[in-house]
Symmetry: C2
Subunit: 214 residues, 2 copies
């Protein structure tokens, strides 16, 4: 643990950045945000690539060390800031949380991010993104039948919620019908009552253009 604030490189519209913003908020960790504008290509600048060769966000600097990859950052935060735990104690329940994280973070989000959408003809992008997101949410919703309560795992917020909710920003952007996913929809409504989720929302970020802010 360190006395200096962690620094988070983030982009308001990045759902992967939002996962980390939510976890930092839930754990009450004060941090400094440095916006990286992905649309302007700031992640490709020599300065940023020298720091983070992957050139993505989020990227966290904590205790003088840099960490790329949102899931690696979430696991790090859980290990180093164990107050307000975001993983349960039981090994099988931890596996359930991480399995839900995998459905979103490996099987859904990467397939519908800008890099992949750009490989499609523009006229096909929206339908493709909807299909990918619906496929992912269908699996998540089925798993949530047996795991969820108010949140993804019973009535305690976990890292699974930190990953699921930002995926729904993209679902709404592409007009996905949330009534198809009743467990996901319930969890979205419940997390929307929590400041940590509200404050991490893309429309609440300092780098969100004024006209899009909530």
């Amino acid at each position: 643990m360190t006395d200096t604030k962690p620094i988070l490189y983030s982009y308001y519209r990045s759902s992967c950045s939002a996962r980390v913003r939510i976890a930092l908020n839930l754990k009450g960790i004060a941090y400094e945000m440095r916006p990286i504008n992905l649309v302007k290509g700031e992640q490709q600048s020599p300065e940023y690539k020298a720091l983070n060769p992957g050139g993505f966000v989020p990227y966290l600097i904590a205790d003088g060390h840099g960490i790329p990859q949102s899931v690696a950052i979430l696991e790090y935060l859980e290990e180093v800031y164990p107050e307000t735990p975001l993983l349960p104690k039981d090994a099988h329940q931890r596996a359930q949380v991480r399995a839900l994280m995998g459905v979103i973070c490996a099987d859904t989000q990467p397939l519908q991010n800008l890099k992949i959408l750009k490989t499609k003809p523009e006229s096909e992008r929206a339908a493709y993104a909807v299909q990918i997101i619906e496929d992912g949410l269908a699996v998540a919703d089925k798993m949530l039948e047996s795991t969820s309560g108010k949140y993804c795992l019973g009535d305690e917020v976990t890292l699974a919620d930190c990953c699921l909710i930002p995926q729904l920003y993209n679902a709404h952007r592409f007009g996905v019908d949330m009534d198809k996913f009743p467990n996901v929809k319930r969890i979205e409504l419940n997390t929307a009552k929590l400041d940590a989720f509200v404050d991490a929302h893309w429309q609440s970020q300092p780098d969100c253009p004024e006209e899009l802010r909530k």
Copy 2:
């Protein structure tokens, strides 16, 4: 911990299954393998989907509980079978291992799996897969400059090696030039000397057709 052997649903060609096979071997965990033929669509059977709604492999049943998603399984094995640790003790080093896992398991493999390749015209698939794999390995290789020794993190095998090596099965399948990635190439050569990796290789699996076996 349990007395009954874990059951692994696996497909010989699945690089995600191979991650788990390697970890089980490294930890010396005896397990029962149940092959699921993805090309024949066995993952879509009602019996398998009732077990694993995601319909993917790998899927592990341990201690009576099922776990989908390879990364969730790897973390579970590390927690429940701590002998032969595959994560270092230091939080920043653990983050380095998990960041490398993310580069492969979120940013590379999902983008070049069969589901996505099938959305492309057949004539474009190979070039697309090569590009995705090279992009991913370029990031990994750059990160490995500062983390690797004989293996991804210094001279001890970690979960990062369990994830990196199966990605190289796909790299070779598509003819990726490994000389572009000297750190990855060195680690591949070093892990090829270890039984755990040799025995988990796709060409060593019981469900691999005879004519493709090593």
